[in-house]
Symmetry: C2
Subunit: 406 residues, 2 copies
């Protein structure tokens, strides 16, 4: 048996990020930048007003004998327009937020600090003195031409999309999104819409893994169920080889009916591992042709948990992410874990926040065939190997799959 | 000025979840269940083996004079198949994980605890006594017929998809995904692919909000830029009214050129609010016809932050989620926040984990026109109202937008 960490390291060592492609900006969200982005212009491109108000010479705002300065208004500048007029001593121009500051002006005073006659827009009284530069955003204050705005390897979230738009990056070079083939195996598997027949169960893994692969940021293609015949398995694997990663479920344990293992080894190089974890000890990893294959156990609970620990980091590495693993936090396990297992136990739990702490409640019976233990879980509480239990109220590390809102 | 919380409450009070629709299971991921799901069958549907091994009578596993029991092997049961044969005293059947337990057997012994002759499969030696029920998963042990598997209002994640597949739920009734119209306003806005012209800036908000709306779980439709003319605004709003929510940026501050406000009020009922926050004081909220409208400030940083605080919870309420707000944690702000502002300050920051604590580093100059303050931020550190500062190393609450992996 090898540890979870050793298995993760050995798998990840064989994986390289996918090649870069160029996509339209809106399609880059969630992907990883494959080049440095350098600004081609100063941003803002021109000095502009931070407020709705009046552009003027700061020297003209001085009060005389306690009386506000009165300036002649020579025009208006809306955002999006440039004026040829210049501010001369004793004059001002109405200016809108974002509008370019006219020549001659060195400050903007916000409208709330002025007084004017609604029926006569030709003058304005300045109620407060302002310093040079007041309410003016200088050209290049945000980003300088030639500046590196984002580095290769950055994850492109909504806010990065906004900045890329600001610098005019209509197309972006990103690491391509992986296409993942999902294969369920076994003669006992029927599709979700079919009525149950004696001895059969429904293909829950295909649907579960499809949703999990998509959530991890990849495209998921459910190839359906391979039957326990050489022909069926060969056919599904030849289809699966068109993808960037193959994830199978079932067929990796010790039983003699595991034709899957034979066909995998015939078509590629696959290692079969026993991992020191529960649920989910048996695991396969290797390549079919050039395509990496991750073989998960057939049990839905085991498939779900091993996907989180092994499948998701593989997908994130293909996507070019530097952060591959879920965050862990310390939680108080209010109901404890009384089942003893020699292997490290990943217990499904609901974590909530309570007075600044993370509090976990397990999802009930943790047998690997109890699929209801997956429901409403947002964390995996880690009970260390060696048959330990957790008393109610003891603390443990938990892998957070999703965070409580509020 | 009203508080962020009061504005959130007033907005959310006017919003109801969208109507339910029925979708194929694979399309339900991320949505909220609009009905209770009741199991129509026991699951597992039949008693089955938890291991690869031999099905037998537990009474037959007793050792005699320290010698292992030797049983006659009368057949093999693969997963997916049912046998008509029954286990009689002194006999056993090879059985695979998941295969139905044959009549007469009350236990399964795993293959590792047996011995047999590779060249003669007609017998097996049992190396350990087992109790009745050993390695047998009883019918209905996971889910009982008639049991409520998932409740209305549950969020359907990958694991819930797996359980819904298990119970044969090929189609699911869910709250419909909102379609959100995104409208940028202003004569100064040009599209991202266009060369900069004097006085113009690029439409970063449209792209930023599109990505943020998608990440929040809604469909986003960028309707483009409305010009500062009545005609252009009316046309864009009549298009926007075909959606479930309208999000605008720009046109909500005090300036006289804000035609947007007039047209909004002509076509619907809109309130203009001053929120006690920075960035992003001005905000509009109301309805155009029957469609809720959220008007964000035009400034990209303000639009980004106000979307997180107001837009995302609105979308989550439309989606039927019960948890509407991002989680908050206590962080140590290692570089502090020295800018004083009378309003509550939402400071963009990168939060990482260090020795079990969350440590924040701000993203630099926090001016509302400094779009680079959005880059690589995963949290908003909250500096309370009243001109407070945070000294380096002080703690504060932070809204987590995204969590550090590892």
């Amino acid at each position: 048996m090898i540890s979870v960490e050793e298995a993760q390291e050995r798998m990840l060592a064989t994986i390289q990020p996918l090649p870069a492609i160029t996509v339209a900006l809106a399609e880059a969200a969630g992907l990883v930048l494959a080049e440095d982005v350098i600004a081609k212009e100063d941003l803002p491109p021109f000095a502009n007003s931070a407020m709705d108000g009046y552009a003027l010479r700061s020297a003209d705002t001085r009060m005389e004998h306690g009386r506000p300065a009165r300036l002649r208004v020579i025009g208006t500048i809306a955002a999006g327009y440039v004026t040829e007029q210049a501010i001369e001593p004793g004059t001002a121009m109405r200016i809108m937020t974002g509008a370019p500051v006219p020549r001659g002006a060195d400050a903007v005073i916000q409208i709330e600090l002025t007084r004017s006659d609604p029926t006569d827009s030709s003058w304005v009284e300045i109620l407060q003195e302002v310093a040079p530069g007041n309410n003016i955003r200088a050209a290049g204050e945000d980003i300088r031409r030639g500046q590196r705005v984002l580095s290769q390897g950055s994850e492109i979230g909504p806010w990065e999309i906004g900045v890329l738009a600001t610098v005019g990056q209509a197309r972006v070079k990103v690491i391509r999104r992986p296409r993942v083939a999902i294969v369920s195996t076994g003669d006992e598997i029927i599709d979700v819409g079919e009525p149950l027949q004696p001895g059969k169960i429904r293909n829950s893994n295909g649907y579960l893994l499809e949703a999990a692969v998509r959530r991890a940021g990849a495209e998921a293609l459910r190839l359906g169920v391979a039957r326990d015949t050489e022909e069926s398995l060969r056919q599904v694997f030849s289809q699966a080889m068109q993808h960037d990663l193959i994830i199978t479920s079932g067929g990796v344990s010790v039983g003699e009916f595991d034709l899957v293992k034979r066909i995998m080894n015939e078509q590629g190089v696959i290692d079969f591992w026993q991992i020191n974890m529960r649920p989910g000890k048996p695991l396969a990893f290797g390549r079919i042709g050039q395509v990496p294959l991750l073989g998960l156990p057939g049990n839905p609970v085991s498939a779900a948990v091993t996907f989180e620990l092994f499948g998701r980091p593989l997908i994130r590495k293909l996507l070019g992410h530097r952060r591959l693993h879920r965050p862990q936090v310390e939680v108080t396990v209010e109901d404890g874990v009384s089942e003893r297992t020699p292997r490290r136990h990943y217990v499904r739990a609901q974590v909530r926040r309570e007075q600044g702490r993370f509090v976990a409640r397990t999802t009930g019976h943790q047998g690997s065939h109890i699929t209801t233990s997956l429901l409403n879980a947002n964390a995996l509480v880690i009970v260390p190997e060696g048959g330990k239990i957790l008393k109610p109220g003891e603390t443990a590390q938990a892998i957070m799959l999703d965070w409580p809102e509020e």
